[in-house]
């Protein structure tokens, strides 16, 4: 499962940088692999919910064996679906896959009443909301960046003046997100004041100084692109780190549940995860990025559209901001979906030369079938396991 996460989801983080030509796919694989592992191992949630986001009611499962086989079925179901999606280069949400897997075995075991349909509705909402909000946000951010940097009378001068501002702003978001997502901090306010604003100001000063000393003396547009190219590597790297810290739970949660039941013989709602399991998850994600991730990088980075660095930056920036605001509002939102939405948003702002509508359609369809498909596969595996065992 961790491998599949690495293969599919993690690759998304670097794909805009690759698509914009900031780094080569090989470099992306290396950077993403290392950062995903770091995120998963050092910052991964040490306590993971056994049943992801309370999507099914664990009190209805009395037999601990059911939980073990169910978890295995859910993992396999989600993994199989992720592998299929990755094969076709479709960026689907791993969280949704594992939810599908859990719901699948839950329904087979205890019927539809076991599912928390309110939570389920929220998940469905996120399919629709994430890309739309992502698109709207990216649209406006791109418009703002073009207005301030690209469309001014003297692009070089305004690139010097405005780039530090935009980059600084992006780092306010990234700093805050780092606190919330990687260090798993609770208060948004603390995140902004203690991490976001200082990081943003430091970045602003550094970028301003660097631009004072040396500015790429080329075509104004190429100059602006050159500034954003460097930044994009960092923003993409951040996404990989945060991703490792968060999504390792998807792979590890069910494993941890099995582990706890196996060692302690009981099913707790909260399971402390041993470090070595986290490492295993991190390693799996890293290997996944290395072996299969390029497929998805291809789709987001290349097939959807051709990207430049300012556009890539806009997409990273929007996705990070949207996810931040959403987690503050308690809205369920998928990073994967937001990124795809943001790509389309920049396209609609007439910033991107061509978007392949067919691929977009395929991606959206894949989102809608994620939960049912992972669910059905998980249900079949669960049935099979129960028949064999007992």
């Amino acid at each position: 499962m961790a491998w599949a996460i690495g293969a599919n989801d993690a690759a998304n983080s670097m794909s805009t940088a690759v698509g914009a030509g900031a780094i080569t796919p090989r470099q992306a694989v290396l950077i993403a692999g290392v950062l995903e592992f770091t995120g998963a191992y050092f910052f991964g949630k040490s306590v993971t919910e056994t049943i992801r986001k309370g999507i099914i009611d664990p009190s209805k499962i009395t037999d601990p064996n059911v939980l073990i086989y169910g978890s295995i079925a859910a993992l396999l179901g989600a993994t199989i679906w992720l592998v299929i999606a990755t094969k076709y280069g479709l960026p689907v949400s791993t969280t949704h896959s594992i939810i599908g897997g859990i719901v699948g075995y839950g329904i087979v075991y205890a019927g539809t009443s076991i599912v928390n349909w309110g939570k389920m509705a929220k998940v469905v909402m996120s399919w629709i909301l994430s890309p739309i909000v992502g698109a709207i946000f990216a649209f406006f951010i791109f418009k703002a960046i073009t207005r301030t940097v690209l469309q001014s009378q003297d692009p070089i001068k305004s690139a010097k003046r405005w780039s530090p501002f935009w980059i600084g702003l992006a780092f306010v978001v990234i700093g805050t997100m780092f606190y919330l997502k990687v260090l798993h901090g609770k208060s948004l306010f603390v995140g902004i004041v203690k991490f976001g604003i200082p990081v943003g100001i430091i970045t602003f000063i550094i970028v301003t100084l660097i631009l004072k000393v040396r500015f790429p003396k080329v075509d104004p547009y190429l100059g602006a692109e050159a500034i954003f190219r460097r930044v994009q590597v960092i923003t993409s790297g951040y996404v990989a780190l945060a991703h490792g810290a968060n999504d390792v739970a998807n792979a590890i949660g069910p494993v941890a549940a099995v582990y706890t039941i196996a060692t302690m013989g009981m099913a707790g709602a909260k399971v402390p995860v041993p470090r070595w399991i986290l490492a295993l998850g991190g390693l799996g994600i890293a290997i996944g990025v290395a072996t299969y991730g390029y497929r998805v990088m291809e789709t987001v980075g290349k097939k959807i559209t051709e990207l430049t660095n300012t556009r890539g930056f806009t997409i990273d920036f929007s996705a990070a901001t949207v996810v931040l605001i959403a987690s503050w509002l308690g809205m369920p939102i998928s990073t994967t979906h937001t990124v795809v939405g943001a790509v389309i948003g920049v396209g609609l702002a007439r910033g991107i030369k061509a978007i392949n509508k067919d691929i977009v359609k395929d991606i959206i369809i894949s989102w809608f079938v994620t939960v049912p498909t992972a669910g059905v596969i998980s249900a079949i595996i669960f049935k099979g396991l129960m028949l064999i065992v007992g």
Partner: protein, 222 residues
């Protein structure tokens, strides 16, 4: 990473620029043919005329590929129909050059007064200007998109379009002058027909260049 490179060049602008490059080459080759024609070197001239024909074929092939790739599958910053119409016009520039080359070949050793030859050569020079301006215009259109439709870049594009219109005007003037010269010189009717057709196809080059420029204007005005 081979799959990677296959997915390149989704933007329609790069192949459009490539096509414009070939169109410029076609017109430039025609100009060389015209020079040789004026000197009366039929054999050499025919070689260049055939080369014009070959270049026009190259342009045609790029056009076909572009038409196949610019499908409704794409979401683009400009209308798909505008791009296809533009491509059609840009290709017509090469077509007109080919027509001129064909007319040059049909008559061996025609008796043409020098003052008529001079006007024809002038028209050839202006046609090159028109073709080069079209190339500049489509390159600038790429920059317009790159800048997110910045006012400043759009202004530059308008300037190029204005220059194309100017060239077209100039050639129209030369065309009229040529018509008068043909009739006042009391040429043999075959020579007259020959010259007038060369003039017609030459002025077609700038006409189509102007039509292409019009399409670019429409692309920006969306």
């Amino acid at each position: 990473m081979q799959v990677w490179t296959k997915l390149f060049a989704k933007s329609p602008f790069k192949p459009l620029i490539k096509h414009a490059e070939v169109v410029v080459q076609t017109v430039e080759t025609l100009e060389k043919a015209l020079d040789l024609w004026a000197k009366g070197d039929y054999e050499e001239m025919a070689k260049y005329a055939i080369e014009v024909d070959r270049l026009e074929d190259v342009a045609d092939r790029i056009k076909m590929e572009l038409r196949n790739s610019i499908t409704s599958k794409l979401l683009m910053p400009v209308q798909r129909t505008d791009i296809l119409e533009y491509l059609h016009m840009q290709d017509k520039v090469a077509d007109a050059a080919e027509d001129t080359a064909k007319w040059l070949i049909v008559k061996k050793e025609p008796q043409i007064p020098n003052e008529i030859k001079e006007v024809i050569l002038k028209m050839g020079k202006e046609s090159i200007k028109a073709a080069k301006l079209v190339y500049e215009a489509i390159k600038q259109m790429d920059t317009v998109v790159e800048s997110g439709f910045s006012e400043k870049e759009i202004e530059k594009e308008y300037e190029i379009i204005r220059q194309i219109e100017e060239v077209e005007n100039k050639i129209d003037g030369l065309d009229t002058k040529l018509m008068m010269l043909v009739f006042n010189n009391h040429l043999d009717w075959t020579d007259g027909l020959y010259i007038l057709n060369i003039a017609r196809t030459l002025s077609n080059i700038s006409d189509k260049a102007k039509d292409a420029a019009e399409r670019i204007r429409i692309m920006m005005n969306k």
